[in-house]
Amino acid sequence: MPERLIEDRLREEYFDLLPEIQRVLWQLEAEIRFHTLPILHDLKKPEQLLVKSRVKDCESAIETLRRISEGRQFDPEQASSYSLLDLPDLAGVRVLVFPDRRLKEIDDALRGRFPDWIAKPIPYVEKTRIVPKYFGYCHNASNNVRGEYQIVPMLLGLFWEVEHSAMYKFRAVANSKEMQERRADVERSLDNFEKGIERFIQF
């Protein structure tokens, strides 16, 4: 009998976990919407607050796990050691805020609700700034599947959606000095634009 592929075992694990992932996402999204509602109601005219959520899709989850290994190859000798539960972002929520003067307020409100979640901030503008990101368990939804949320300046978040999907499989290019500089230029410009908005608009 041919050996079962690691990918096939992970696909089975994914669909076994899917109802639990969905529960975590609903719980996390609902709590984030609830805890940011007072801020949403207080927004001034040019301000925006958007909550987006997603379940990581099956093949993307397997690919993420595979890309952790050097050579991007699952090791059949370690087959049983691979689990999608190692991924912290099977259920993910992104809070986009424009301009970013509200970011700390939102971060503080959510930190109060998820104080024991592990922080894994994302650096940007050549590591001079960070986007808050956290992962952990919603124990009333699951003790297995972790959720993740991040609070991102809206312009930066929309840029990253395009940039990450274009560069995800091209890490060497993405990590090259030239592309790092270009990415930092865009991030700096978006950051300056938000600062400009804050300076010139009377909130």
């Binding site: 890309r67 290994s69 050097e70 050579g71 991007r72 190859q73 090791d75 059949p76 000798e77 370690q78 499989k169 091209f170 890490r171 060497a172 990590n175 090259s176 000095k177």
Partner: protein, 79 residues
């Protein structure tokens, strides 16, 4: 000279599927992690190392297991 440029100058090509710098002629491959983590001198030594060209030599932070090595060799020979 930057490490990636050193590899390209020595006729290595980048495999986007595997995140490896590969030279099929001399049968050597460097992982992205190895190149990122190791100093330039170590990468240079790897490029200059004579391996005889009989079998593939992989420069990884964690040496690949026998089965991973076999699969990588098969894929790199076929590509």
């Amino acid at each position: 000279m930057k490490k990636a440029e050193m590899l390209f100058a020595a006729n290595y090509r980048y495999s986007f599927d595997r995140d490896l710098y590969v030279n099929r002629e001399v049968k050597k491959a460097f992982s992205l992690e190895f190149v990122d983590d190791k100093p330039e001198e170590i990468v240079r030594k790897g490029i200059e190392e004579a391996t005889g060209g009989n079998g593939w030599k992989f420069y990884f932070n964690l040496p690949p297991s026998e089965r991973v090595r076999q699969q990588l060799e098969k894929d790199l020979e076929a590509a």
